[in-house]
Subunit: 80 residues, 2 copies
């Protein structure tokens, strides 16, 4: 079983890395890009037989407490 | 229209950031985690009406050429 956590800067927060990628894409001739957001991606392997609901609760807490900074970042947690 | 690029270290490559998150999770009492991989997540906003196939080709090239390091990283491109 795998959990995926995607952490992105909140829309209102300045994203210098995204701006850099956007201008790099424009300089390289890739047109039609109106915005780029750069975030973090965590793939977490869970032991087989882990309870999905418990894992969701634990990882949600971990994501909120120390994997992301809730002041400036949003996160999305998926377990599959 | 949005494109998403997920860049992860190849399985054979040492992932110190992933190891750190894994041991942090273990120390905080989250058991059942057998592995963590940390990667980058890019969300690219495309202008409305962009041709999907052309955007896919262009972003695939960009991802291969300068958004990822193909020697040590894999990437996955999705356009939706």
């Amino acid at each position: 079983m795998k959990a995926k956590i995607i952490i992105t800067p909140k829309k209102a927060v300045l994203d210098p890395q995204g701006k850099t990628v956007q201008s790099a894409l424009a300089h390289m001739g890739y047109t039609g890009v109106t915005g780029v957001h750069v975030g973090k991606y965590l793939e977490i392997d869970l032991a087989p037989g882990t309870d999905k609901a418990a894992a969701h609760a634990a990882l949600n807490e971990a994501a909120h407490k120390f994997l992301s900074n809730p002041v400036i970042e949003d996160y999305r947690l998926e377990i599959e």
